[in-house]
């Protein structure tokens, strides 16, 4: 039997504000336990929260990046539960009046050999505080670290518009890319500041009736999101095909076993007793403030994609790869700025030569020491005919290593192309004389043999001959 997946994702992204959501403590990561705390985030008696305006502005920026409606009035609520990582025993969040509603984003998904776009609707974005961390030391000892308690999060709730593991990953990747562009979150998945909960149900292919869903909590890698969906799909399919019912429950994904398992039983189902937070006045934002935030946003991926295809003539696949990473796109644009004539070739160079260097050395583009301008300069040299593509590849490692400009390396190494007609002609003459059979073949109409002579000329000049010129001269001689 064929089944359709119905997937909605709740994503938590930590806002990269300097201070916590409701107090002045720092939000830095990796400090000694409990150093970034104060009476407010420790939940002492008598303290009151004060809403961090920077967090509000970043949440609004996130909403604008996701084409949301920004609500002029939003409000905080208390979500009550007891756990040692929650100092007040309630989390301040926004249930009834979130800051952003009704947005959407477009994902590009590669399926087999085709690529398609799909719009995923965003139900809401709300602001909330993160909990602290527990460190368990043996069976009967646990330590509480409240450095993270009170750091600002946004939760992005998608509609159930996602229909496959690939789409889910594309959605998360797009979301992450948008937030990095908008500068609202560092989205560092390893540090857990970008994580997703997947809600998944199955329905018979084409059916309109949704089934019971399960929620797979707290995944912080694209790999586990993908794998968990595949695994949970199989699990639900098997249950349904046995004629049984899916139990609505919360699951965790076990990466080792590549299987989902129940997080808590139904008996422990929480009643969070939400009610409006009386310690905080409603959060208001004016149209002028929203406009200011919109104006401060950089060019976002969709607009950049459009520009890259139109302005630089890139194909959508290449443009998509560049744009997906804000830093890669910026690097590319800097390189192009130094050589406006070759935007496509520069793109190829970055996607092939630069990327393979980065992969081999386990680097990211932000760690790459080579100034982007130098790649533009390299293409200027090719354009001028000083060097050819093959030579460019040869000097590239040296450019990276030394940091010198290509012209300097070419000069120092004496790598200039041989553009001397008479020298090339004399080589050609010798070659033609030595290979009368091949010349005959050419005369008989096998023009492909030109390649044989080009190769020989390049060899004789140690690859320094200008291939274009060689081709020209050869054709002239053979005629």
């Amino acid at each position: 039997m064929k089944w359709d997946m119905v997937i909605g994702i709740e994503t938590h992204a930590q806002l990269n504000t300097r201070t916590k959501l409701f107090c002045g403590c720092r939000t830095s990561f990796g400090d000694d336990p409990n150093v970034n705390t104060c009476p407010v985030c420790l939940g002492h008696p008598g303290v009151l929260p004060v809403f961090n305006i920077e967090a509000r502005n970043k949440a609004v920026a996130a909403g604008l990046a996701l084409n949301c409606r920004i609500n002029s009035m939003s409000q905080f609520d208390r979500k009550n539960y007891f756990y040692p990582d929650s100092p007040k025993a309630y989390q301040i969040t926004q249930l009834f009046h979130p800051i952003c509603s009704d947005g959407h984003l477009t994902i590009t998904v590669k399926k087999d050999n085709t690529v398609y776009n799909k719009t995923i609707r965003i139900n809401r974005i709300h602001i909330e505080e993160d909990a602290g961390k527990l460190k368990h030391a043996g069976a009967d000892e646990s330590h509480v670290d409240l450095n993270r308690a009170g750091t600002p999060l946004i939760e992005i709730v998608s509609e159930a518009d996602i229909s496959s593991a690939d789409e889910a990953v594309a959605y998360m990747q797009k979301l992450r890319s948008l937030f990095l562009y908008a500068g609202v979150s560092n989205c560092d998945m390893e540090k857990g500041n970008f994580r997703g909960d997947v809600n998944l149900s199955l329905k018979p292919a084409g059916s309109k009736q949704w089934g019971n869903r399960t929620e797979i909590k707290n995944m912080n890698s694209f790999k586990s999101i993908h794998a968990s969906i595949i695994s949970e799909f199989k699990r639900q399919k098997k249950i349904l095909e046995n004629g049984e019912k899916i139990v609505t429950e919360t699951l965790l994904f076990d990466i080792e076993k590549q299987k989902t398992r129940p997080m808590r039983s139904k008996e422990e189902a929480h009643d969070y007793r939400y009610f409006p937070e009386p310690d905080l006045v409603p959060c208001h934002i004016s149209n002028a403030e929203i406009k200011n935030i919109a104006a401060s946003l950089p060019e976002l991926p969709d607009a950049k994609f459009k520009r890259f295809t139109e302005e630089y003539g890139l194909n959508s696949y290449d443009a998509g790869i560049l744009v997906a990473d804000k830093h890669l796109a910026a690097y590319y644009e800097k390189a192009v700025a130094a050589c406006r004539e070759q935007p496509k070739k520069i793109c190829n160079w970055i996607l092939v030569e630069v990327n393979s260097y980065l992969n081999e050395n386990n680097l990211t583009i932000t760690d790459f020491s080579l100034p982007a301008e130098h790649i533009g300069l390299l293409f200027q040299e090719i354009g001028k005919g000083t060097i050819n593509g093959k030579m460019a590849k040869e000097i590239f490692p040296e450019m990276i290593q030394s940091g010198h400009k290509p012209a300097a390396i070419i000069k120092a190494k004496g790598l200039q192309q041989v553009t001397d007609d008479s020298l090339i002609n004399s080589i050609i003459d010798t070659l033609l004389a030595e290979n009368p059979d091949v010349v005959k073949q050419f005369k008989a109409g096998n023009t492909k043999v030109v390649g044989f002579f080009i190769g020989r000329v390049m060899k004789a000049t140690n690859g320094k001959a200008n291939p274009k010129l060689v081709n020209q001269l050869l054709n002239h001689k053979l005629k």
């Binding site: 002492h44 040692p84 309630y90």
Partner: protein, 479 residues
């Protein structure tokens, strides 16, 4: 100098002019408190004395500060850095405050000397000051009677000559009702006029700090130095402060005072009614216009109040879990035990009752029927007052419905105790300022009082009306 006749105003004048040594004044109150503690049935108004800290504060005081050298007591739910903020609860026993509250800071800046802490119902939950870890406080006029509550310690300290000014907190009448019962002047300012930062929360949307003093004039004087915006309390209001003493000696001629008929039903004790009649006659004589008005939602106030305050309290008191501070049960083998036993051993029965009540009204399935309904009632009550204030300048009501109860009389039936707040809770729901002023004694010699209500932030008018009565009648000299 006869210290027993001193007021805040007089004391400050005498200190300033050099006729009164603030050390002597401080010692006078400390001696009174200590002497009373040695009596067979002590009043038990003051539960913690900070002699050394107070003496240092007197030494270090700046003579120019407006309240320089004024000894002040605070309720046990105020944060004073280095003092034990206990809320008369076992669960906070030995908790030392790591910070100064907003009002504490203002008092210190104004030169006041905080020399001790007054008894209260545990976490301000109660109307009799019998629900305290330290045992009941008694009425200075007759020690077999309750002092009202929850700021019973503050009220009793004033009329027994243990303090000139004691600060309390008022969630449903907790300043006004005990002041009325103890023959002192009690003021609950408009919600938002005084910072709640550093006041241990009971009902966050209702709590407000205010002074208990011997005279209305003193009330105005002290309010001047505790009121004002505090950026750490976003519910405090950023507006310029009037001079609260400015209008005190104006004429009352033409002022319209409303008598809400819902406050003068058969539920009102006859003796109290007669006393109020005399107050009304006085105001008429002063040229005020007395008007019959209606506040139709009055009878729903206590019900709505006990839903909202318990709902908020259930979340506010959830942080006392034995994890980070306060009392942790020694019988804590598991996390669950730690929560259950710490809270079970730490909270008294009235607090438990309210936490359970509040948890219930917020629980899923009951939220709309209780909490949402109560908020609607709250809105209606607010609107009722606003409408009434279209026609009158002030509203005059009894402070309590019945004669003061004996110790132990109200502890068996909590609803009986809750009904003591029948005339005071509506103001907290609406956020309006209210003042209770002594106006005589009942047949048993216990004090009687009336309550005056003014529109939002019109404490100057409120204190004006109260002062005119107070000045002419001098009921503070009863004891």
């Amino acid at each position: 100098m006869d210290f027993s006749k001193l007021t805040v105003k007089k004391a400050l004048q005498e200190i300033k002019s050099g006729n009164l040594d603030p050390f002597e004044l401080l010692n006078y109150y400390i001696k009174n408190i200590e002497a009373d503690n040695n009596k067979p049935t002590p009043l038990n108004a003051v539960i913690k004395l900070y002699k050394q800290q107070a003496e240092t504060a007197v030494k270090k005081r700046s003579p120019e500060a407006p309240l320089s050298g004024l000894p002040v007591l605070v309720k046990d739910n105020f944060h004073v850095k280095g003092q034990e903020t206990g809320c008369a609860s076992r669960i906070l026993q030995n908790y030392i405050s790591p910070y100064d509250g907003g009002v504490t800071e203002k008092l210190k800046q104004a030169g006041a000397v905080i020399f001790g802490r007054t008894n209260m119902d545990e976490f301000a939950m109660g109307s009799t000051t019998e629900h305290s870890l330290y045992g009941p406080t008694r009425n200075p006029f007759n020690r077999d009677y309750i002092p009202g509550g929850s700021s019973g310690g503050a009220a009793a300290s004033i009329s027994s000559g243990q303090s000139l000014c004691s600060l309390g907190s008022d969630t449903g009448g907790s300043i006004r009702q005990p002041a009325a019962v103890c023959g002192a002047v009690g003021l609950k300012p408009t919600y938002g006029l005084v910072s709640r930062y550093g006041l241990v929360a009971f009902g966050s949307s209702l709590d407000q700090i205010g002074p208990v003093t011997r005279t209305v004039e003193d009330s105005a004087l002290v309010l001047q130095h505790i009121a004002g915006y505090d950026q750490r309390d976003t519910t405090s209001v950023n507006r310029p402060l009037p001079d609260f003493s400015n209008k005190l000696n104006h004429s009352l001629k033409g002022k319209k005072i409303g008598l809400p008929r819902e406050y003068f039903t058969k539920d009102l004790n006859e003796e109290i009614k007669k006393a109020i009649d005399k107050v009304v006659a006085f105001y008429k004589q002063q040229g005020a216009v007395i008007k019959d008005i209606s506040l139709p939602a009055t009878k729903y106030a206590v019900g709505a109040y006990y839903i909202i305050c318990t709902a908020e309290a259930s979340a506010n008191l959830a942080r006392y879990d034995g994890v980070r501070y306060g009392r942790r049960s020694s019988k804590a083998a598991s996390l669950q035990d730690l929560y259950f036993n710490s809270r079970n051993e730490g909270f008294g029965s009235e607090v438990k009752r309210r936490i359970i009540l509040g948890t219930y009204v917020l629980s899923s399935g009951f939220y709309d029927a209780y909490y949402v309904k109560a908020q609607k009632v709250r809105r209606i009550i607010k609107n009722g007052f606003n409408k009434a204030f279209n026609n009158v300048d002030l509203i005059l009501t009894p402070a309590v419905p019945e004669l003061t109860a004996g110790i132990g009389e109200k502890t068996d039936d909590p609803v009986k105790m809750y009904l003591l707040d029948i005339y005071t809770t509506a103001l907290n729901l609406a956020g309006l300022p209210g003042l209770t002023v002594p106006c005589g004694r009942d047949s048993r010699g216990l004090p009687l009082a009336f309550q005056m209500v003014a529109p939002y932030f019109q404490e100057d008018d409120l204190l004006h009306a109260g002062h005119i009565f107070d000045k002419e009648n001098n009921f503070q000299d009863l004891l």
